[in-house]
């Protein structure tokens, strides 16, 4: 863990989240990962809710804990080291929260926080794996009187099957761009699919949703959905990177422990220079990622000039690195790395899924160029 844990609160949070992850998440990892073929880990989710993990960055005046991005990244890293499905659920909720805050919807958030008795009440589902402006089918919103109604489909609404509310991107009838809508997922005019079987984050289920003239409220202003998304993008990319970094730590630790124990060719695996090289590469990736993450958190927290582009660049690096590291994390363990009895194969899948958060990976890079390199906005790049 590279973060400079230089304040007491952060250290405490680190300990609490790590203990929670090791005691509550790790033992059930294989079982929870069976979802949707096994039960959903509602109990664990409620425990995380009770520990205020979902409130972590919600401002105090809205009923939250009011921590910053650094604290959030510490918690996310610890959780994802053991089981990133919970990380995915948290991520989705926090993305919704971030968008709502950008759209000046503090009151709505405050209300939800005040009303919530359990995790499901509090969770706000959204299409966390997509940038809605990247060509995905969106429902159409039509204004009728003072309210809106949604008609049409949207794919892959993360936590849509378990959350009470959702933030749905939709196009307003005969207008361009997209807007966000608040909708109660328990209403009758919404058809939800079974949980979509996915590559990773199995216990962070998504559903496809069909709206049949379902009631919804506009979030912020019409047609400003993309703007809200873009504003939420940078901090949330960093959160995704923190998840990836936690996954990497888990993968490295398990690979190292195995190589210290397993013998082939008459030696411990760790004694073969080939394996030393592989473990060293894993460790280098991990160190670099943790360092980048720590520095990126600092840059954001201190509002440094050019922080946004630097943070995004760091996140791209970490997210790619995680897919490579987790692949080698399996490789270091040979056949057993491929089996569900160990954590490596899940981390490999989860890293792939986390990389896809917030949109198509190469498109994120194209936008990075357009937004920071080509636009004249001062970046850290020479």
């Amino acid at each position: 863990m590279m973060m400079a844990l230089d304040n007491k609160e952060l250290t405490l949070l680190h300990k609490t989240s790590r203990e929670f992850a090791r005691k509550e998440l790790a033992p059930g990892r294989e079982e929870n990962d069976k979802h949707p073929f096994g039960p959903f880990f509602q109990h664990t989710l409620d425990q995380a809710f009770a520990l205020d993990f979902f409130h972590i960055t919600l401002p105090k005046e809205l009923g939250g804990v009011g921590h910053g991005i650094e604290e959030l990244c510490v918690v996310m890293g610890n959780i994802c080291e053991e089981d990133s499905s919970l990380g995915g659920i948290l991520f989705t909720h926090l993305l919704s929260q971030e968008i709502l805050l950008r759209a000046d919807e503090e009151n709505r958030l405050k209300q939800v926080a005040a009303d919530a008795k359990n995790a499901a009440d509090f969770l706000i589902a959204t299409s966390a794996m997509a940038n809605p402006s990247e060509g995905w089918e969106l429902p159409v919103a039509k204004k009728e009187g003072n309210s809106y109604h949604l008609t049409g489909s949207i794919d892959y609404v993360v936590t849509g099957g378990v959350a009470r509310h959702a933030l749905i991107p939709a196009t307003i009838h005969s207008e361009t761009g997209f807007s966000y809508f608040w909708t109660d997922l328990t209403q009758q005019r919404i058809d939800k699919s079974d949980p979509v079987l996915s590559h990773g984050l199995n216990a962070c289920p998504a559903v496809d949703i069909r709206f049949n003239h379902a009631g919804a409220a506009l979030i912020g202003e019409a047609q400003r959905g993309e703007e809200y998304f873009r504003k939420a993008f940078t901090p949330m990319q960093l959160v995704a990177a923190a998840m990836a970094s936690g996954i990497m730590r888990g993968s490295f630790n398990e690979a190292l422990a195995y190589c210290r124990d397993r013998k082939q060719g008459g030696r411990k695996l760790k004694e073969w220079s080939l394996m030393q090289m592989m473990l060293s590469e894993l460790s280098i990736r991990l160190h670099v990622s943790e360092m980048l993450l720590s520095r990126a958190c600092e840059a954001i927290t201190q509002g440094e000039k050019g922080a946004e582009s630097a943070v995004q660049a760091a996140a791209f690096h970490i997210l790619s690195s995680a897919t490579e590291l987790t692949s080698d994390g399996i490789q270091a363990m040979g056949g057993v790395g491929y089996m569900k009895d160990f954590g490596q194969e899940k981390r490999f899948r989860d890293a792939g899924q986390v990389q896809a958060l917030l949109g198509i990976f190469p498109m994120k890079k194209i936008r990075f160029f357009r937004e920071f390199i080509d636009s004249g906005i001062k970046t850290r790049n020479p």
Binding site: E134, G135, D155, S198, Q264, G266, W272, G334, G335, A356
Partner: protein
């Protein structure tokens, strides 16, 4: 200008002509008929894909994810109905007699649609490969006959290869490591046969196969010199199945534990042991190393082809997505970055295919397929009616002389340089093809965003499936070492590979 001696000397300098330009050397040597067969084989695979594999692939995968104990019986039978288990069996064994040189192209096709299902067929041919590599013609003929009968009767008879053990994965596959203490499958010589005790793990298709080609050792601390290769039949006393592994992917095939508990195997199921090997030119350890080289050179070229299939499947899936998905008002396929990414994927397929083809040519000239690629034998197999060949060959195989002759040709006559060549190329094809598969699957996932991670869009399944190719048949790391051993190290003195002197 240049004398013959000089030419030879220069040609034999590293990298040696014979080691590098295999397809060129094969031109003219290889029967032309193979090209026509390859075309037909690809069509057969595509028909199976259209009618069976594609509609079933996600269904099987889902079933396997839901319950790791799922056994793909239905599809084992389907492949039998489509006569896939006898495609590459020579007619003299009662098979359909398609050139085994085409099997890689066939595997690529199957894998491009469903890697899991391709293994139903692939593991069977892997078992046949090890069986044939022992050149015990009597046992080979008997088992092949059963495979053919299984096809006729509708009860599939397929094979596995069983080497890996709980404490010996890499160690079970390399003679240099076999004596280091990890192996535990013991064979005890008794009157009329051997008694086996121990476990094998990760055996692809174990639970649904009839014959298992198993290696056990009469002295575990000298396994490299006491290895015995057995043909064990499902149902034999003392032999049972243990757990089914909870794999990440390739759900169309099962990975099984095989348990041997005082399992008596009679002499007529001993494919190769020290007694049989005593008369061979090489000592027993060298012979065992040669046996591994035969197996791996053929099967790793096959895994390379599976990797290329995976790479192709990922490419096709990504291409389909890109041509239907619009971003910034334009189909993705019209974005330069996307075209470049797809081109990279296409290149990975083509490069991987070139490598496994080269390995295939090496096998055709110097390895397992050598005899079948001799024009006279090839055309005999093709044009003489199966019934005649089968009758004649069944009779010949019963004779000890048949085994002696084949071992003479394949084991004694094979030169060390040829072993290096086929084994080195097998490793190269394997790690290059499987790395290409994994790389393309990753690119497909990246390119498809949230569609890529959905099971129903196939790319994520391909990624899970492809990852395994980097592990089995020797990890890619070990295959890199093997390439070095076979094609590089020999030019330098005092270079240690796969030994305790290697750090």
């Amino acid at each position: 200008m240049i004398s013959r001696r000089e030419e030879r000397m220069l040609r034999e300098r590293e990298p040696k002509f014979e080691d590098t330009l295999l397809s060129l050397i094969a031109t003219g040597r290889q029967p032309k008929g193979i090209i026509r067969e390859a075309r037909k084989i690809i069509a057969i695979a595509r028909k199976f894909n259209d009618e069976v594999a594609r509609p079933a692939s996600l269904v099987i995968d889902r079933k396997g994810l839901e319950d790791h104990r799922y056994l793909p019986w239905e599809y084992v039978k389907k492949a039998n109905e489509y006569k896939l288990y006898t495609l590459f069996l020579p007619k003299m064994f009662g098979g359909q007699g398609y050139s085994p040189a085409c099997s890689c192209y066939f595997m690529e096709e199957l894998a491009a649609t469903c890697l899991g299902m391709s293994n139903i067929v692939g593991a069977h041919y892997l078992g046949l490969t090890i069986l044939l590599s022992t050149w015990n013609m009597k046992i080979a003929a008997r088992i092949c006959r059963e495979v053919v009968e299984g096809e006729k009767s509708g009860s599939p008879c397929i094979l596995t290869l069983a080497m890996t053990e709980p404490n010996a994965g890499t160690d079970s596959q390399n003679v240099e490591f076999m004596d280091k203490g990890g192996l535990g499958c013991h064979a005890r010589r008794v009157d009329g046969g051997y008694v086996i005790n121990g476990n094998k793990i990760f055996i692809t298709m174990g639970h649904v196969s009839t014959w298992h080609i198993v290696q056990a050792y009469t002295a575990l601390d000298k396994a490299s010199e006491t290895m015995v290769t057995f043909a064990v039949k499902t149902g034999q006393k003392g032999f049972s199945f243990g757990k089914q592994e909870k794999k990440m992917g390739q759900k169309g095939s099962v990975a099984s534990e095989l348990i041997f508990d005082e399992c008596f195997i009679p002499d007529d199921q001993v494919c190769l042991d020290t007694e049989q090997a005593a008369s061979l030119r090489r000592n027993i350890k060298e012979t065992n190393e040669q046996l591994f080289a035969y197996i791996w050179s053929a099967s790793r070229a096959g895994v390379g082809a599976l990797g290329v299939g995976a790479a192709r499947g990922a490419f096709e899936t990504a291409l389909d997505f890109a041509s239907n998905h619009t971003i910034d008002g334009e189909r993705m396929i019209n974005h330069g970055w996307c075209q470049s990414m797809l081109a990279e994927m296409y290149k990975n397929v083509a490069a991987g295919r070139s490598l496994y083809s080269e390995a295939n040519f090496a096998n055709g000239m110097y390895g397992l397929l050598k005899l079948m690629n001799f024009k006279s034998i090839y055309y005999t197999n093709r044009f003489i009616p199966k019934a005649i060949l089968l009758k004649l060959f069944s009779w010949i195989c019963e004779k000890k002389a048949a085994t002696w002759l084949f071992r003479l040709i394949y084991l004694d006559f094979q030169e060390d340089a040829e072993i290096d060549r086929v084994d080195g190329w097998g490793s190269m094809a394997k790690f290059a093809g499987s790395d290409a598969g994994a790389a393309n699957c990753r690119m497909a996932l990246e390119l498809m965003g949230q569609a890529g991670v959905r099971h129903d869009r196939r790319a994520e399944k391909m990624m899970r499936d492809a990852k395994l190719l980097q592990i089995y048949e020797g990890t890619n790391q070990i295959n890199r070492l093997n390439l070095f051993k076979r094609l590089v190290a020999r030019s330098y003195e005092d270079v240690h590979t796969f030994s305790s002197s290697t750090r």
